[in-house]
């Protein structure tokens, strides 16, 4: 039996970047207040809360995040904690569809710069311990995946050069998009040369400008059952699909090492849930923890055939620098600047993706607003936990869902 789809009735977020003077509670407070204002509701209207964060216990010695959120909202409602924002959203959707709650706060927060000297070690908690013992770094698996990709698809010479430049162009495009995003961590443009220079300096296939930064920030959305949503908003965006999948935590032990099986499965299930095809999606927020992951995501989510995304990227970005042309249609990716330029406060990152898709679908993205060849109706956000150990895909649809 299919249940009615939950509706997003409000979104809010902070600027991403370093918030040296602000505690994590100040960040989540700002995001939650903005979301409640945009949804036009009071804290007492909430039935439950889901809060996402990865590292608050480590970075800020906050062990039971639910209590922290309870104190902040002065509420005693049920609350649960997850790692990623997408996980919080999936749980909230399930609860609403089960008829358990009507109005739910979904939030995400991270304060990574509070532990700037140890955060790269902390990030290793997202990998398997054996890789860590062998000397893995937060960046190493991305570079190994790129090597696997190049070898598997026998890329060399000119093709390899095009691929490398295509990856640089992804960073350039995302920075360009972020210029129009007032909340982005980096509101400045960069050039392909800058990206290549950093790679050369590091003697590595991916350099500083290929990776998303370390960030602080918070995001929040208000999710409601269709009945409650009707009374509160006349511009509803519904969650047409919410899917997730898992994979081995040990990257070297996986069969597929040129992409993420978890993403492929989550997308397949999400499309089925939403009852649409890939081509119906016009805007996508992809998890570009590195430029490579934006490219690989295009393949994992089925927008490009395996081993060909770099070609589509190179061809598209050489022309417009705004969208990818895949399967003869325009696909706008990471219009907020992506993790690369908008920022990547882990627990809040998925919230920024959802906020962006909601604003795009509602036509409220300001200077970033995309105008695809057909009316905007569907957008999707994909988020990973760890290096593809978990994948989440949410498909959002403008208007009510049946």
């Amino acid at each position: 039996m299919t249940r009615a789809h939950p509706v997003i009735i409000g979104v809010g977020r902070t600027k991403f970047g370093e918030h040296y003077e602000r505690e994590p509670e100040k960040l989540i407070e700002e995001a939650w207040l903005k979301a409640s204002v945009s949804a036009g509701l009071e804290r007492k209207d909430l039935d439950a809360g889901y809060l996402a964060d990865y590292f608050l216990p480590i970075t800020n010695k906050i062990g039971i995040e639910e209590g922290f959120l309870s104190e902040l909202t002065e509420l005693h409602i049920p609350m649960e904690k997850t790692r990623s924002f997408s996980s919080a959203l999936l749980n909230a959707c399930t609860a609403i569809q089960a008829g358990r709650y009507d109005v739910v706060l979904v939030g995400g927060v991270e304060k990574m710069t509070d532990r700037w000297d140890k955060i790269r070690d902390d990030l290793m908690l997202l990998e398997d311990p054996w890789s860590y013992y062998a000397g893995c770094t937060p960046e190493a698996n991305h570079e190994l995946m790129l090597r696997e990709y190049v070898k598997q698809h026998h890329l060399s010479g000119r093709e390899l050069e095009t691929l490398n430049i295509a990856l640089a162009q992804i960073a350039v495009k995302n920075h360009k998009n972020a210029v129009q995003n007032e909340h982005a961590q980096y509101q400045r443009e960069i050039t392909v040369e800058t990206v290549l220079k950093e790679r050369k300096k590091a003697q590595k296939p991916l350099g500083l400008f290929d990776y998303a930064p370390v960030s602080d920030g918070a995001t929040a959305i208000i999710l409601a059952s269709p009945e409650k949503a009707k009374k509160r908003t006349d511009a509803p965006v519904c969650v047409a699909a919410s899917a997730s999948a898992t994979d081995y935590v040990t990257y070297p032990a996986r069969e597929e090492r040129t992409g993420f099986i978890a993403s492929m499965i989550a997308m397949r299930n999400a499309l089925k849930m939403a009852g649409i095809a890939q081509n119906d999606i016009q805007v996508a927020e992809l998890y570009d923890q590195s430029t490579l992951l934006e490219m690989v995501s295009l393949e994992d989510l089925g927008f490009s055939k395996r081993g060909t995304a770099w070609q589509s990227i190179a061809e598209s970005l050489n022309q417009s620098q705004r969208f990818y042309r895949v399967n003869g249609k325009e696909l706008y990716v990471n219009t907020n600047g992506g993790l690369k330029a908008d920022g990547n406060p882990l627990g809040a990152t998925g919230g920024a993706q959802i906020c962006e898709i909601v604003q795009q679908l509602n036509g409220k993205a300001g200077n970033r607003q995309v105008k695809p060849d057909a009316d905007l109706q569907y957008g999707c956000a994909s988020e990973l936990e760890g290096f593809g150990t978990k994948a989440y895909v949410h498909i959002l649809r403008r208007g009510d869902c049946r």
Binding site: D117, D121, W130, Y133, G135, Q203, T250, Y251
Partner: protein
């Protein structure tokens, strides 16, 4: 603080690279498992133990790490990648070790596809008070300094009348520092006396062809154990799976002990190790004596710094038994006196020594006494002895003592290895013995006299048997191979001090 239970479990699996193989479909796993994901419940009880300790793998893909996470910063830059075993049936993460990259321009993609062997090393840096973490997810290229060697268990053919050496191995690192005429072996930054002891023991097992489960006792002599309290021998026993293994409890049925007596900490146990295998109820069993040192010396401008011109790094291991003996132990003689010529007080980082007194009366008196007494006892003249090996803290002392005892150059030069590896302390005369065994022929007689400050000497007479020829081809990693290897890397003094200090 490191977590002791985690250290125990990680080292139990990771030091040996233990895994499982499904007895039904053949699927392989790194880390032991009770069932196969493909075959499910059917595979319960049908999983076979595997390990990759004596195997070689392939470095499939790799990348350069120039900004490691905090515990790895002492390694500066290194290559990290994915290593596959058994034609890609199992893959593990791995770090290439023994690579001084610094700011060198390298294309790591050229490393891909090359064969690698697992090495046993320190995992990363920890506080001085913590348990030293180790791992074998570190690799070196199979066609470079450290060769790939399989371990094949060979059924013993002949029980001998007297106990003796049934196999041996030595390990020195690929890095050297050169000072004038003397070259010295230098540990890589993730090496110490524990890792060298394991490597030497591994080589001895390869050479002897014994089944390690028949090991009754392992002795490790060292004066540079990273721990004041905690044996190296227990690590050697676990990693090399010495004695029978109780997998349920993770315990080896073997005795293990560390000994300390400056540079004779290992040689003094040769007779004990031989005596034990001669004991009636221990027949068919073996014992192993390891001498290992990352020889300590203060920096050159500090007290004790004069040692810094001579110290080396290395280990050697000798397996004793009654079966297929390559060199019978004919007799021995030891002597001791309380001579404080070299010492290190507890909590001091470096040893001190008694200046000119270390030669006369310390070194010469004891070496001469032990050698003369043994030769008297056995009624041997220098001409009855093919090779004479003595403790070698420098080139001058062993040459002088051998000449004084009436030996000629052809008798003592083959065992004089200090100019190639430096003074490897507990392993100093044993490496000399290994070098001589590498070239010895049946019926050669070898006399080895160790010296340990504090002070004392052990003299042994060994008679080489026919068996030595059978086992010769099993060991590629000979003393000569290590001394004349084309992959040796020479380093400067600053690098030497940094590497020697370790992680």
């Amino acid at each position: 603080m490191s977590s002791e239970p985690i250290e125990r479990r990680v080292s139990y699996i990771g030091d040996r690279l233990r895994g499982s193989k499904c007895g039904i479909c053949g699927k392989e796993y790194f880390r032991p498992r009770d069932y196969c994901g493909t075959c499910g419940r059917r595979s319960f009880g049908k999983m076979q133990d595997t390990d990759f300790f004596y195997k070689k793998g392939e470095l499939e893909v790799c990348t350069l790490v120039k900004e490691p996470t905090n515990k790895f910063t002492r390694l500066e830059s290194y290559v990290y990648g994915i290593v596959s075993f058994d034609n890609g049936r199992v893959r593990v993460p791995g770090r290439l070790t023994d690579q001084l990259l610094q700011d060198k321009e390298i294309d790591v993609t050229e490393f891909e596809g090359r064969e690698v062997v697992p090495r046993f090393r320190r995992r990363y840096a920890v506080e001085q008070s913590d348990v030293v973490p180790t791992i074998a997810l570190t690799f070196t290229f199979a066609d470079e300094y450290y060769p790939f060697q399989e371990h094949q268990i060979v059924k013993p053919r002949k029980e001998c009348e007297r106990p003796g050496i049934v196999g041996y191995g030595a390990y020195t690192s690929k890095f050297r520092i050169k000072d004038g005429a003397i070259e010295r072996s230098v540990p890589y930054v993730d090496e110490d006396s524990i890792t060298a002891a394991v490597e030497a023991g591994k080589m001895a097992i390869v050479h002897s062809g014994i089944d390690p489960l028949m090991m009754a006792k392992v002795y490790v002599g060292s004066e540079s154990n990273p721990y004041a309290v905690k044996p190296i021998a227990s690590k050697v026993a676990q990693v090399l799976k010495l004695g029978e293994e109780d997998k349920e409890r993770g315990v080896q049925t073997v005795d293990a002990v560390d000994t300390e007596f400056a540079c004779k900490a290992a040689t003094c146990m040769f007779k004990d190790a031989s005596a034990l295998v001669y004991y009636p109820s221990a027949r068919g069993h073996y014992t192993m004596v390891v001498g290992t040192d990352n020889s300590q010396a203060a920096p050159r401008n500090e007290p004790g710094g004069e040692l810094d011109f001579f110290v080396g790094y290395g280990a050697s291991a000798f397996i004793f038994g009654m079966n297929d003996v390559i060199a019978e132990m004919e007799d021995w003689c030891s002597c001791t006196s309380d001579t404080p010529d070299f010492w290190r007080r507890d909590l001091e980082s470096y040893p001190r020594h008694g200046g000119r007194f270390t030669g006369e009366p310390a070194y010469f008196k004891h070496v001469t006494k032990a050698a003369e007494k043994l030769m008297d006892k056995m009624r041997l003249q220098p001409k009855d002895i093919t090779y004479f090996v003595s403790h070698q803290p420098n080139v001058a002392f062993p040459v002088k003592v051998a000449t004084q005892l009436g030996f000629k150059e052809e008798q003592f030069m083959p065992g004089l290895q200090v100019a190639r590896f430096g003074n490897t302390y507990s392993s100093s005369s044993p490496i000399g013995l290994a070098a001589v065994l590498d070239i010895a022929k049946p019926n050669d007689r070898i006399v080895i006299v160790s010296y340990g400050s504090g002070a004392g000497s052990d003299a042994y007479s060994l008679l080489v048997t026919n068996q030595i020829l059978d086992k010769k081809d099993r060991q590629k990693f000979t003393i000569c191979y290590q001394a004349e290897n084309k992959n040796i890397e020479y380093i400067d003094y600053e690098t030497y001090r940094r590497l020697k200090l370790g992680m």
